[in-house]
């Protein structure tokens, strides 16, 4: 029973990472109607920035903040410089650009920071009082940080005029322009925000999976499974999907398929959702009367 509880809770902790990444995927999906395959690579690159900053002696939370800022600006730049020119292109073009971005970021990180594994330490000391036999202090910290970010994002979209404008721009760009919203910038901000959220996921995952240019490839699969399960067009579904996938992955890994086949769980979820319920569990059916 104790073992089960441990697996369950650390599943929730991992779920926070998947939820953040899934949310980032959904945000870009809503704006571009494509899945950003480079989301994981972007998060990985952000994590390297955090590592470089801590390596240079910047205190952890300052490095965390600076990394978020960097990720946001880099996300905005990627949208304006790389995505904008192909925005109206056929689906395949955009997908190829995403894959290219993934390869470029991967190689760039290897080139700048080398392919040897780096260690980004956890900001939560392993002897901290909030650790217990069920959850390590890092896992507790991970849950708190990812939940805090998700809540902040929710409050931003729900209650600020800019958040409302970003939702409007993703939903109905033509009408948005007619009320004076600068739609291009809203989409760029969306990319920036998604990049920053992905960066949080990367920084929280780094102490567990270690830092190398491929660190996010497995996590992106879980994130993708989470987003699909929750409904790729529903941010809150994707977040719930993230926690669900985290728990399912851990339980299945411990009791059903074994740790070596854990990643298969993500693939099974992806395939089953696409086959049996393409809209996902919370994919919203729009109610409209004409």
């Amino acid at each position: 029973m104790q073992g089960f509880l441990h697996q369950l809770l650390s599943g929730v902790a991992n779920g926070g990472i998947y939820a953040s990444l899934a949310l980032a995927l959904v945000m870009i999906y809503q704006a571009t109607h494509h899945v950003n395959f480079a989301q994981g690579a972007m998060a990985m690159f952000s994590t390297y920035i955090a590592w470089a900053l801590s390596d240079a002696g910047v205190p952890y939370w300052a490095a965390f903040g600076l990394t978020l800022l960097f990720s946001f600006l880099a996300g905005v730049a990627i949208e304006r410089i790389i995505i904008r020119p192909v925005e109206r292109g056929p689906a395949l073009t955009i997908v190829i650009v995403f894959v290219g971005l993934l390869l470029i970021l991967n190689s760039l990180a290897g080139w700048i920071f080398s392919y040897t594994i780096k260690i980004l330490p956890s900001p939560f000391p392993s002897t901290a009082w909030y650790g217990s036999k069920y959850l390590s202090p890092h896992e507790v910290g991970m849950i708190v940080v990812t939940l805090a970010i998700l809540i902040l994002v929710f409050l931003f979209f729900r209650f600020t005029p800019l958040g409302l404008a970003m939702r409007a721009a993703a939903q109905n760009p033509v009408s948005s322009r007619l009320v004076g919203i600068r739609v291009g910038w809203m989409l760029a901000f969306g990319w920036g925000l998604a990049a920053a959220i992905g960066g949080v996921a990367g920084m929280m995952a780094a102490p567990i999976v270690y830092l190398d240019p491929d660190m996010m490839s497995g996590i992106l699969l879980y994130g993708f499974a989470a987003a699909l399960l929750g409904g790729i067009d529903n941010p809150w579904g994707a977040v719930l999907g993230g926690f669900f996938v985290g728990v399912l992955e851990n339980i299945a890994g411990a009791y059903v398929v074994g740790t070596e086949l854990k990643l298969t769980v993500a693939l099974v979820i992806i395939v089953s959702v696409l086959v049996f319920k393409p809209a996902g569990l919370f994919g919203r059916t729009l109610v409209a009367r004409v």
């Binding site: 005029p161 409302l164 404008a165 939702r167 409007a168 939903q171 109905n172 033509v174 009408s175 948005s176 322009r177 007619l178 009320v179 004076g180 919203i181 600068r182 739609v183 729009l286 109610v287 409209a288 009367r289 004409v290």
Partner: protein, 237 residues
Amino acid sequence: MTAILELRNVDAAYESTQILKAVNLAVEEGGIATLLGANGAGKTTILRAISNMMVRVSGEIQFAGRRIDCKATEDIARLGVAHVPDGRGTFLDLTVEENLRLGAYTRRDKGIATDFDRLRGYFPHLMDRRRQQAGTLSGGEQQMLAISRALMLRPKLLLLDEPSFGLAPLVVQEIFRILRTINRNEGVSMLLVEQNAHLALELADHAYLIETGCIVMSGPAASIAREDATRRAYLGY
């Protein structure tokens, strides 16, 4: 009276298909002009040309004394041109209140609460449904929401694309009555595109008839309504 909006020799095209040819048109400050014509004549395209939306425009468009023909859609809106597009342009997933807040997005003043009260005067039923998802409103309510959203911009000029489209006659009459009140109370100039020529001519003070992309006749609405030959030829009643 001075013109708040003036089109001089405006051509407009989608891709390679030319739609408008040398259109001249003016809306007086505080006045209501209506643009009448058959389906596909280019009425909607004129409104899109003014908002620089989806069409390629050449010629000169002046709003409140400055040229707007090379400005971006969002900048034209920021100058005070509120466009209620065909299909109403409602943000269906958002609530009524969020739609209205978006209308006021470019404004930085604090008057939004008083604007809600002002709108309640025109559309009391709509304002009772502030928390409802806009997609669940009836067609008439959605049209009222579209007009309200446009008014939240505090516009100088309102472009209306077939506000009567798909609505029951009683609802259409109510909307036209409210448009008249808005014009009187707020001094908003209007350019109204309509199929319902009879109602439009009653509301407007100036009318333009458009046929295959050219303005073929213009004049005071009352005199156009009186000319039997024109009415039969262009307006079909």
